[in-house]
Subunit: 125 residues, 2 copies
């Protein structure tokens, strides 16, 4: 009886302190990789630029559609587009007079799944 | 006929330069608000902390489950937890000896939906 009581207390201690993992948390490597992408959109202008590009038909926008929307100079817009491009969230392609920027839906989907990881396998699966 | 031709040329000019919006891009206000949250997880330690908390049963983890995982001092972990808390991504509650951190699924879902905005109404809807 006294032994059983001690076991119950122990069980309480464990439950009280530490809940178990129900799925695998992000690895160090993946966290380093994906936090760079989150950092790139951790700026209101860059987040708006990405949203604006992705909101155009085909997920592609001419730079001439982007510059007029912001009260910023061309070089500042270019800098922010470069940060998004270097993070792998968009790519740019010159066609004639204009550069066209395209959002990368697979990169956006990866970030989205990290935040709401329904599809990450459970630890005990 | 000549009028129709002119209309076609105009249409080409528009299509060639600028693809139309197919949904509403993020507003300035929302971009300011949400970019703060993205910035908070734009750091590998904070992204791992958030993932680790959300991966525990009930989306809640004791601070004692978090500190041992990182090769960082307690004050450094506390600083990162404070940044996540101030961004509204987690909350902390002291119960007895330990502080328990809980991920905020609705905040994570908002960020996820911004990245893959299937549910944002189309401009012409």
């Amino acid at each position: 009886m006294s032994k059983q009581k001690r076991l119950l207390v122990r069980s309480d201690e464990v439950v009280g302190c530490c809940s178990p993992l129900v799925r695998q948390p992000l690895s160090v490597e993946l966290a380093v990789e994906l936090s760079r992408l989150f950092k790139a959109i951790g700026d209101p202008v860059r987040l708006r630029l990405l949203s604006l590009i992705a909101s155009h038909a085909g997920g592609e926008a001419c730079v001439c559609d982007l510059t007029g929307v912001f009260d910023l100079t061309g070089p500042t817009i270019s800098h922010h587009l470069k940060v998004l491009r270097e993070a792998g969230l968009i790519s740019g392609e010159r066609r004639g007079t204009w550069v066209y920027y395209r959002a990368h839906p697979e990169a956006l989907r990866r970030l989205s799944e990290v935040l709401v990881p329904d599809e990450i396998p459970a630890v005990n699966a």
